[in-house]
């Protein structure tokens, strides 16, 4: 009984924790969402200093008001076709800090930033299982907004721990 109740509570908590404001952006024609509290800043595309001996998805580092922040290209990370950056291309600076890491910031390059959306719990569904051992851990859920589906990302899990470590060791 108590176990069931705990299950329920957990589910409710996860559901509750998922509802809230998301920053949506576009990538390869699809809409993605980021938890707003993860977002530190949105900036237009700027000069990225490339860093040698890094994976291809790591575009380099930028100087954001005196702070050097690593930048990854989400397209490349998601193994999509790379595109030429244009005036719509944006860098979203996100906080990937968690219990183990503190105040770590990272820039992600997206095709364009859309808007800030308030998404209710009832609009969010769990990630469907694709019947494979596909790693869908970095997906928080699927938001059904105005007939479309937006993929809500857990940006802290997009890069694996190893990747993150290698990235921040470099720095």
């Amino acid at each position: 009984m108590s176990a069931e109740a705990m299950e329920m509570t957990k589910e409710t908590v996860s559901s509750i924790s998922r509802e809230g404001k998301y920053l949506t952006f576009e990538l390869g024609g699809e809409e993605y969402g980021l938890e707003i509290l993860r977002v530190k800043e949105i900036i237009g595309i700027m000069k990225i200093t490339s860093v040698p001996r890094t994976p291809t998805y790591v575009k380099g580092v930028i100087n954001l008001r005196g702070k050097v922040i690593p930048v990854i290209d989400l397209r490349l990370k998601f193994e999509m076709e790379p595109i030429e950056y244009n005036e719509r291309t944006c860098i979203i600076v996100v906080d990937i800090a968690d219990s183990s890491r503190n105040g770590l910031m990272m820039g992600i390059v997206v095709d364009s930033v859309s808007e800030v959306l308030n998404i209710g719990a009832d609009e969010i569904e769990d990630t469907p299982t694709f019947g494979t051992k596909l790693d869908t851990e970095y997906i928080l859920g699927m938001a059904k907004v105005k007939g479309n589906v937006k993929i809500l990302l857990d940006i802290g899990k997009v890069l694996s721990v190893q990747e993150l470590e290698s990235l921040f060791k470099e720095e």
């Binding site: 920053l23 800043e41 949105i42 237009g44 005036e87 930033v113 808007e115 800030v116």
Partner: protein
């Protein structure tokens, strides 16, 4: 005595006839025979006269009369023979002349006919030459008109060329103006791009503001609304700038198309200018050719006028020759009549001894009409016949 005279006369007649018959039989129609025939009446008359004288007893005149009479008779006979002999060639000549005159009459008739037809022909020719002359004059005036028209056309072509040059200048101005418009559109496009960039930046700022408002939680609720509004404005200006950009792109495209059309028009004008130049040259040639033609026609006109003069003269000459041949014909007729009369004289002269009847005929036919005319002849004939 009368019986004796008649007897003697009869004897003499028989004797003369016998002699004449013997002469005719032996000599044919020889001068001797003719002489005998012509002399014998005289001898007969002489013999009768002498017989009558002898009867009245004047014998001493007989021998003398016989001698004188015989001598006169022989002389007359010989003279007659001689005249006949002499007249023979003359008669032949006159006969030939008569033949010739006949021919002259025929020929002069033919000449009359042909000179009349010549005259008619010359008249006809003169009239057709007049027609030719008038058509030539018409032609000359037409050519002059052609020259005038060609000159007018040339001046028109010249004016067209001027207008074409003006159009060319206008075309260049038009192209320049279109290029200016295109450049201005480019400038506007740049400004729109700047506006778009500003809208984009504003959008980013609004989004950042929204993020900050979200972080502020409940306290930032109002601010988030403002941020949303700002973002909407930014989006709208972005959209507006986008549609303006599209419009300007469209305008630029249209201007480019217009420029292309204008260039093609310019090419066409250039071609037209070349053609007009060619037309001008051709017109020039036409004018000079027409002038030459006019000169040629003038020369032809002069020549035709001369031909006309000559033809007029020919016509007059033919007329004159027709009248001359008419006169000639009349004269030939007269001559023939005269010759016929003369031939009669010749023939009669050969027969003087024949009693002069031939001579009388000659006088009637040839002499009287010339002396008294046809009427006089008739009157004389009536007198002669005792009417």
């Amino acid at each position: 005595m009368i019986a004796e005279t008649v007897l003697i006369t009869g004897l003499c007649l028989v004797g003369a006839a016998v002699v004449a018959g013997a002469l005719y039989l032996t000599r044919g129609k020889a001068p001797t025979t003719i002489l005998w025939i012509k002399v014998s009446p005289g001898i007969l008359v002489l013999c009768i006269c002498l017989f009558i004288l002898g009867k009245f007893g004047a014998y001493h005149y007989t021998a003398l009369g016989l001698c004188v009479g015989m001598g006169l008779l022989v002389m007359g006979g010989v003279f007659t023979l001689f005249v006949e002999q002499a007249m023979n060639p003359l008669t032949r000549v006159i006969e030939q002349i008569a033949g010739g005159t006949d021919q002259i009459v025929v020929a002069s008739g033919q000449l009359l006919l042909s000179s009349q037809s010549l005259s008619d022909g010359a008249n006809e020719q003169a009239s057709s030459i007049e027609e030719t002359s008038s058509s030539l004059e018409e032609m000359a005036s037409m050519t002059q008109q052609n020259v005038g028209h060609s000159k007018e056309a040339m001046s028109l072509v010249g004016r067209s060329m001027e207008k074409l040059k003006e159009a060319n200048g206008l075309m260049k101005s038009l192209i320049e103006s279109m290029e200016n418009t295109s450049a201005a559109s480019d400038d506007v496009s740049k400004i729109i791009k700047t506006i778009d960039q500003i809208a984009f930046q504003t959008n980013l700022l609004a989004l950042n503001a929204a993020v900050e408002a979200a972080r502020a939680g409940e306290a930032g609720a109002g601010f988030s609304v403002v941020a949303e509004e700002v973002r909407n404005l930014a989006m709208r200006s972005s959209e507006a700038s986008l549609s303006t950009q599209e419009l300007i792109t469209d305008v630029i495209k249209k201007i480019e198309a217009g420029t292309g059309l204008v260039e093609r028009t310019d090419d066409c004008y250039r071609e037209v200018a070349i053609n007009v130049q060619k037309t001008n040259n051709l017109m020039d040639e036409i004018v000079s050719a027409s002038q030459e033609q006019a000169q040629g026609i003038e020369q032809i006109n002069t020549a035709v006028a001369e031909i006309d003069k000559v033809t007029q003269q020919n016509a007059a000459n033919a007329e004159e020759s027709a009248s001359a041949s008419r006169q000639m014909s009349v004269q030939a007729q007269k001559m023939r009549d005269l010759v016929e009369g003369t031939a009669g004289v010749g023939a009669d002269a050969g027969h003087l001894g024949g009693g002069g009847a031939g001579f009388a005929r000659t006088v009637r036919q040839a002499v009287i009409p010339r002396m008294f005319g046809q009427k006089g002849e008739k009157v004389l004939l009536k007198i002669a016949h005792g009417k």
